[in-house]
């Protein structure tokens, strides 16, 4: 199993954001985590990627327990996430953003930076080639030298994806990658996720758009009020009465 979460519980003061959540993610699949607003989806992401310590429970990545590890260590294992709110390095260009994402692919440290300029030059050249490859993969080639803060919303989200991909994820966690996008942009994202899966990267995503979710997922997990209420293939989950109740009951409506 690529990812195994067991009995995850997260409590803040009196509020339980997650209670006893357990699931697994199989390698090479696309798994989606859905649920009404406030169900705890981002909290689950935060726990898996080290941005939040769980009150109870464990997370295992390829058999190794990673609960409570710091985010950068988890990223070094190949678990890379994106964020719900658009997250880029605003003052840097698209290229510089992606080059920063390639951090783990480099080796140069303080000593080498000061004393081994030859090695630095070679590494920079190698990283720049790789950066261009990733930028082209997400389709931002034309905007290579533009500042990230000046990009359109859709392009910024694509940049976010590029930065995450640059970190060579084995498991990519996408937090609402399609939010705020037009219908055609969503199709592009779905296609991109498909191509990512073809590269052998396992994808775990949180999304609200049902059509997108049901279209690309191999497996769907449903959270409600911090508890896992459904876990199975898309068709079965869609028919599950408790899932329907959760969505209708909370007043949230599925974006069709």
């Amino acid at each position: 199993m690529t990812l195994e979460a067991r009995d995850l519980t997260v409590r803040f003061g009196g509020v339980a954001a997650l209670t006893g959540v357990s699931f697994t993610v199989a390698p090479g699949t696309v798994t989606s985590l859905i649920g009404p607003n406030g169900a705890g989806k981002t909290t689950a992401f935060n726990v898996i990627t080290g941005f939040q310590r769980p009150t109870q429970g464990t997370v295992r990545h390829e058999g190794e327990p990673i609960t409570g590890w710091r985010p950068h260590r988890i990223a070094a294992r190949g678990l890379v996430r994106t964020f719900q709110k658009t997250s880029v390095f605003p003052g840097l260009t698209v290229r510089e953003n992606v080059l920063t994402g390639l951090h783990l692919q480099g080796r140069v440290g303080l000593a080498a930076a000061l004393l081994a300029r030859g090695r630095v030059r070679a590494e920079e050249q190698r990283l720049e080639v790789e950066a261009d490859r990733v930028i082209d993969f997400v389709g931002l080639g034309a905007r290579r030298a533009e500042a990230a803060s000046g990009l359109s919303y859709g392009d910024q989200r694509r940049l976010e994806l590029a930065v995450a991909l640059a970190a060579r994820p084995r498991l990519l966690l996408l937090d609402e990658p399609a939010s705020g996008m037009s219908a055609s942009e969503k199709l592009t994202i779905a296609a991109l996720i498909g191509r990512i899966r073809e590269q052998g990267i396992t994808v775990f995503l949180v999304e609200h758009d049902m059509r997108l979710v049901m279209g690309i997922s191999d497996r769907v997990l449903v959270l409600n009020y911090g508890r896992l209420i459904a876990d199975g293939d898309p068709a079965a989950v869609q028919r599950d009465p408790e899932v329907v109740r959760a969505y209708l009951g909370s007043g949230a409506h599925a974006h069709a």
Binding site: G50, F51, R70, H72, V80, S87, F89, L92, L110, A113
Partner: protein, 321 residues
């Protein structure tokens, strides 16, 4: 800058002692150089990782005292003293960085202020070690002693001018080398979006410590130079005015650029000297405060970036005219 301009500039800098007749002006240039080293060091933290150290005078002071104590009390070679002036503050920077851990923003500032305050109090109160407010007079000058050749004492202003020029160039190159590498990118990532940086594997604490160490070591180097130039070290090196001056040089010059701190250092050493005839240092400091606010309001990026941005616009206007 074009090649010709750059070459001319280098020529001017390299021959200054020949045509700067007034030794006081030469002194001003030397101080500008020492401050350039300090400003470059503060810029590493403030401009690149985005964290402000308001205790930077402490690293400067520790460097000065390190070399002062070793050369005066133990009579060691000034070059060893200078080395100590780099290593000891660097170690202090390591401690600060490690202590700071997840502290950022105002909390980091407070930590640095507290550190500086404690060090300052020690320098005044621990008489047996530091001589307290009386200070350490008689710090020997730097000396080049190659076997077979007579010792060349670098005690004249002209000689020390060249020491400082080399020192500034060295520090500039160190900063440049760091920035133009994966290390520099990691530092900037801390400033731009630390959470995102962590998600792609950048260890924020590690790089903050790295920046703190290099920054502190460089400031200590400036302190060592200062000690061997003025040949006297006292608790005055911990004066808050030094930190303030460094901050204003970096912010007004242009934080996050490499030329900015150097330009700021020259500007804010030469300017006060020009004003000195007319006004007292209190007015000068008052002006600094007002200037800091004004810069943050009107030219928040600093002078160098503003000039760079204005450059193309001016060029267009010239070619259109």
């Amino acid at each position: 800058m074009s090649g010709i301009a750059r070459g001319l500039g280098l020529l001017v800098v390299a021959t200054a002692p020949a045509w700067v007749w007034n030794p006081y002006h030469l002194h001003t240039l030397i101080m500008a150089g020492i401050f350039a080293v300090l400003a470059l060091s503060l810029n590493l933290l403030l401009g690149y990782t985005g964290q402000l150290s308001l205790g930077h005078a402490a690293f400067f002071g520790v460097g000065a005292y390190a070399t002062g104590l070793l050369t005066v009390k133990l009579e060691w070679s000034p070059w060893i003293g200078l080395l100590a002036a780099i290593v000891l503050p660097g170690a202090a920077g390591y401690v600060i960085g490690r202590l700071a851990l997840k502290l950022r923003g105002a909390y980091f500032v407070l930590l640095t202020i507290s550190f500086a305050g404690c060090v300052s109090l020690v320098s005044v109160n621990w008489m047996e070690l530091t001589n307290g407010p009386l200070g350490l007079p008689g710090v020997p000058p730097l000396e080049i002693a190659l076997p077979g050749l007579p010792a060349l004492s670098l005690r004249t202003k002209s000689a020390f001018y060249y020491v400082v020029v080399i020192a500034v160039a060295l520090c500039y190159l160190v900063c440049l080398a760091l920035i133009r590498s994966r290390v520099g990118r990691a530092l900037v990532a801390l400033r731009e979006n630390e959470t995102l940086a962590a998600s792609v594997g950048i260890d924020g604490t590690h790089y903050l410590v790295l920046a703190a160490v290099v920054s502190a070591a460089m400031a200590g180097f400036g302190g060592g130079l200062y000690a061997h130039y003025t040949r006297f070290v006292s608790p005055e090196v911990f004066l808050f005015t030094y930190t303030v001056t460094m901050v204003i040089m970096v912010v007004a010059g242009g934080k996050g650029t490499l030329a900015g701190p150097v330009v700021g250092a020259v500007l804010f050493t030469v300017l006060p000297e020009a004003l000195r005839a007319a006004t007292s240092w209190q007015w000068q400091m008052l002006l600094y405060g007002v200037l800091l606010v004004a810069v943050l309001f009107f030219v928040p990026e600093g002078i160098v970036p503003a000039l760079r941005a204005a450059g193309p616009a001016l060029r267009r206007r010239w070619s259109a005219a």
